[in-house]
Symmetry: C2
Subunit: 179 residues, 2 copies
Amino acid sequence: MNYCSRCGGKITTAIPAGDDRPRHCCAACGAIHYENPKMVVGCIPEWQNRILLCRRAIEPRYGKWTLPAGYLENGERVSEGAIRELYEEAGARSAAVLPYALYDLTFVNQIYFFFRAHLATCEFAAGQESLDVRLFDEDQIPWDELAFQVVSETLKRYFEDRRAGTFTFHTGQIRRPTF
Amino acid sequence: MNYCSRCGGKITTAIPAGDDRPRHCCAACGAIHYENPKMVVGCIPEWQNRILLCRRAIEPRYGKWTLPAGYLENGERVSEGAIRELYEEAGARSAAVLPYALYDLTFVNQIYFFFRAHLATCEFAAGQESLDVRLFDEDQIPWDELAFQVVSETLKRYFEDRRAGTFTFHTGQIRRPTF
């Protein structure tokens, strides 16, 4: 951040009075520009025990498989965001979603929030950001071809819960990948 | 948003290619400045069946009672933010917190996320943003003097769950207050 989005003045980094951490401050108009984590909302779409995954048509992780998810938009409920992403990326509809898991990704200032989603029908189709969309049985999940660790963690938990016969709300943390 | 925080150019509102909603765009450098909801994280601090509430020393709702909560910071886990706010606003410590509820406040682009928090000790003290901090039995909760609807909804649910003997994760929506 170089310039003040309110007045166009130069931005400096300083700890404002009464605060305890550095912020982007405008010396000209006094505005403080706070930066906060963003929420990524998604779902685990299920149809007759199979899971719907999308193959990414965009970077990062082009060609890898993922759960439909994306940034929550202003004016949108968390559940609405997950339902919108399911439709945008996988062309699928869900009437009701159930909160399932929250993951902290502090290294990218993101919070992932996943719902369980039973599909309303068996219809689906690749959206603009997907190369392909397919239903997978548990033993067909392409574990080595999943796009992100948050996706593999979420799916692992999901299948564990499903085998145990009881779904509970999970929280977890994903750390910066080390290659 | 009037000026581009990257190059200082004038901001216009337009729907970028491949997008479906208006964004703040810079005609000079091409930057798109997305705006997304912010997370407010807090907890329901409990000590021997009593709930710790803070009386607000700041606007809005100066003098009203609230649960400790505030904006999640970059680099912080959701649970860490709730524990930090508990200490900053109420001078209290909790070793472990359990996810309890998520509320959508789309009219202010906020997501509230509350944890249940058992206090580590009975120590507490008003922080900079609190006039007073006190423990309340359920029948002493100042329902008519609570600061926000999200606080009264959360507490109502909490006492219902406690009476039922089982806490489950809740989601809900708070609509714009009408006076």
